[in-house]
């Protein structure tokens, strides 16, 4: 067994939707149908650097640090730490609003701004790597881009209405200001700014049902998407030279489909995907975790060159854990974004529990 369950975090009173690691990798935020956000951390910070663990998760190994009793009127569907300092947390809710929370030593988390605009349920919120931009998307088929204007407030700088259905998830490229959105319309769209306007530079077609989630490889050379059609697809970002030396010119190249993990790998919709930040020797792009409606947590190892596919890309299933959240759906899987903690994986499920795993190859 190479996947070790280190902690089970109980406290949410409803299903847990999404997780976000603090940029330090030492804290984790979770959001839930109970309208709260909870912040978790290991009781002993040294735990994250350990490499052997008791067979059963030790109670109290991780603890609840804090809780945001959000003012959201409905489910908090998405949560995201500001990625440069982690001082702010963004939450997106089914009540149609997105809130920005900042930690204050005396007051705890305080709502700094509420971004209204979406007609109804907001499904996802994501910060750009610089922390300057925020993307939100939702049931109203739109993707919004907001810009920090200081004082915790944001201005809307674009409303992108090209998806023809519910937009499920948005995520930023790790180094460029490029956004990917995925939708119930089965497509993935890539957005980019030109001369103060955002536009869709590419539509990735291939999934035959709702696309639920997406993640870029840490170097930005690949995008992975997961879908209701039970497949995991890997798309090659254009003009990638090598994994360490990227020249990213989205308009000039095509986003080719590099590899599809065949449908047999999953038996129910895949809701979440995460690309690990595991140190990767050239050609090895690290690990990709997926989770979804079949209650199974899977880990794929990706190979950039020399793989079986004609593009040289390959993803092989290296770990499969059934019932990672018992008989419940897995709503989110998230690798720790810090290189030194890159073996840590967090998952969230319909059982209302957050689980912390340690993976050794």
């Amino acid at each position: 067994m190479t996947l070790i369950l280190v902690a089970e975090l109980e406290g949410h009173k409803d299903r847990v939707w999404q997780l976000s690691w603090h940029p330090s990798g030492e804290r984790l935020a979770s959001c839930s149908g109970d309208r709260t956000v909870r912040i978790w951390a290991p009781s002993d910070p040294g735990l994250l650097s350990a490499d052997s663990f008791p067979e059963k998760p030790a109670p109290g190994a991780w603890k609840a640090l804090d809780q945001i009793e959000s003012t959201h009127k409905r489910t908090v569907r998405s949560v995201a730490y500001e990625p440069t300092t982690g001082k702010q947390i963004a939450t997106a809710s089914f009540d149609g609003t997105t809130s920005i929370w900042e930690y204050d030593e005396y007051q705890g988390y305080e709502c700094e701004a509420t971004l209204e605009g979406h007609e109804n349920e907001v499904k996802c919120v994501s910060w750009s790597p610089s922390g300057q931009l925020l993307a939100t998307c939702g049931r109203d088929k739109s993707v919004w881009i907001w810009e920090a204007v200081g004082g915790g407030d944001f201005d809307c700088i674009s409303v992108l209405m090209e998806h023809t259905h519910d937009v499920k998830f948005v995520t930023w490229h790790p180094t460029e200001e490029i956004l990917a959105s995925v939708s119930y319309d089965n497509t993935v769209r890539i957005w980019k700014e030109d001369d103060d306007d955002w536009y869709c530079t590419k539509i990735l077609e291939g999934h035959t049902s709702t696309v639920w989630s997406a993640d870029f490889s840490p170097d930005g050379s690949y995008l992975v998407t997961v879908s209701d059609d039970l497949t995991v697809k890997f798309w090659k970002a254009p003009s990638v030279k090598t994994s360490s030396e990227i020249e990213f010119v989205p308009d000039s190249g095509s986003w080719d489909l590099a590899y599809t993990v065949p449908a047999q790998a999953h038996t129910r919709p895949i809701y979440s995907v995460s690309w690990s930040h595991h140190a990767s020797d050239s050609g090895n792009h690290g690990l990709v975790a997926t989770g979804g409606g079949d209650n199974t947590l899977r880990i794929f190892k990706t190979v950039l060159n020399g793989g079986r596919d004609k593009t040289g890309f390959e993803a092989t299933l290296v770990e499969e854990l059934k019932n990672a959240h018992g008989q419940y759906d897995i709503n989110c899987v998230k690798w720790n974004p810090c290189q030194k903690y890159s073996c840590w994986l967090a998952t969230a499920g319909d059982d209302g529990v957050v689980r912390i795993w340690y993976y050794t190859a």
């Binding site: 007609e119 809307c156 674009s158 409303v159």
Partner: protein, 497 residues
Amino acid sequence: MSFSGGVRLTDLNDFIAPSQECIKPVEVKKTSATKSTVEIGSDGGYYEVTKEGSATKLEEAQVTLNDCLACSGCVTSAETILIAMQSHEELISVLKANVLAKREQRNSDLRTVVVTISPQTRASIARKYNLTTTKAGMRLAKFLKTAGVDFVFDSAFSRDLSLMASAKEFVDLYRNRQVGSLSEQTFPILSSWCPGWICYAEKTHPEILPYISKVKSPQQIMGVLVKTYLAQSLGCSPDKIYHVSVMPCYDKKLEASRSDFYNDMYRTRDVDCVITTGEIERMIVEAGSSVQDLDEQSFDGQFCGQGDLNLARSAGSSAGGYLEYVMSYAASALFGMTIPADSIANPAGSGLKRTLVRNHPDHQEITLSHPQTGEQLLRFATVYGFRHLQNMVRKLKTGRCSYDYVEVAACPGACGNGGGQLRPPETSPKSLKEWANSVENTYKASEPCQTPEENLALAEVLSNWLPQGIDQPWPKKVLFTSYHAVQQATNGLGVKW
């Protein structure tokens, strides 16, 4: 078809995908006042069953565009309804019916066909076919007249009236605020002529509605002019006139079909049909002709610029020049300053300052300061495009919007760039933007600027039509309208995701 951002977000996307949420079919008129129940019969129809057990088949509910607009869930596609109700084919069939009626000498069935063309439409055609806007308009006039249209008017004419009413409304409210007989709540005044914006505000920000100017748009003022003044002077009833307007966007179709602009007595709309610039171009092509090959003919003098040959425009952008005229009028009425409207478009000195907010041309601030004391007297803004509109609404709701007047347009770049305008051959984001800019330049470079007071044809109409003057008790019904918050249907589906 493509609606403006706000409309797309709030309404039509919901309409286009059939949804289970439509509540309309349930609202079936029942026949008896006493207690009865509604049952579904074996034929799928609805039956009203009284206590005594007798069943009457109920009228099948019809969902109209208005139902759709007044509701947020929907059973049918507004697009289909719009296309059926308001298309160039409608116009063609009315013209055909006229020809037939004439031939069969059924004079009572004849309808006078009136077409009002917007100056933004002329600018779009002019840009594409490399004409002046006046020539572009005159070619459209020729085409329409040849097709059997009786009158061709210019909506810049009724816009002058809309501008005057807007300026008067602003000054009245401003004075009321000064004497304290008004809550601060009314300011800023937000312009009202863009239906994309109105639709969005009614659906998503009902608390903003009190800020919106009550003045009708140029299209709807022309509607009243045609269905009252013109009808009277022709000696016919309003329903004997078929009034079409040619506009830069689909949103104008929604505006024309608002119940506020429906005459119950004569069962007629002020504007019966709206076609877009693109649709009139298609109409010309389908008639086997082309804008290049058309001859020219002048508009009809009653409702057009400065008499029959010359078209004119108001100072300002393709949004219509509301900001410029309202500021010019207010400067004079409130502070005794002479600030010509076209000097506001390109200010140089005289206490005027125009700044791009965060360097974006779609959000500009125009301030007027006292030339001696430097005290800021008026603070106006243009807010074009959904993104800026959105930020303005957010500021307004949190009490951080310190403008006196805002010219609001749902489309980036305003009406020159409306969703119903002609598109460039290339449609990359860059060329679309360049095209929009060049349409705007064509619009601005067109006819000479004229103030509403200089509009002689309008002065003549006003002296006959509203002899009491537009300063005296406002001809409210004629020039003003109202807005209605639309109740959001809650999402009753309880969808997990």
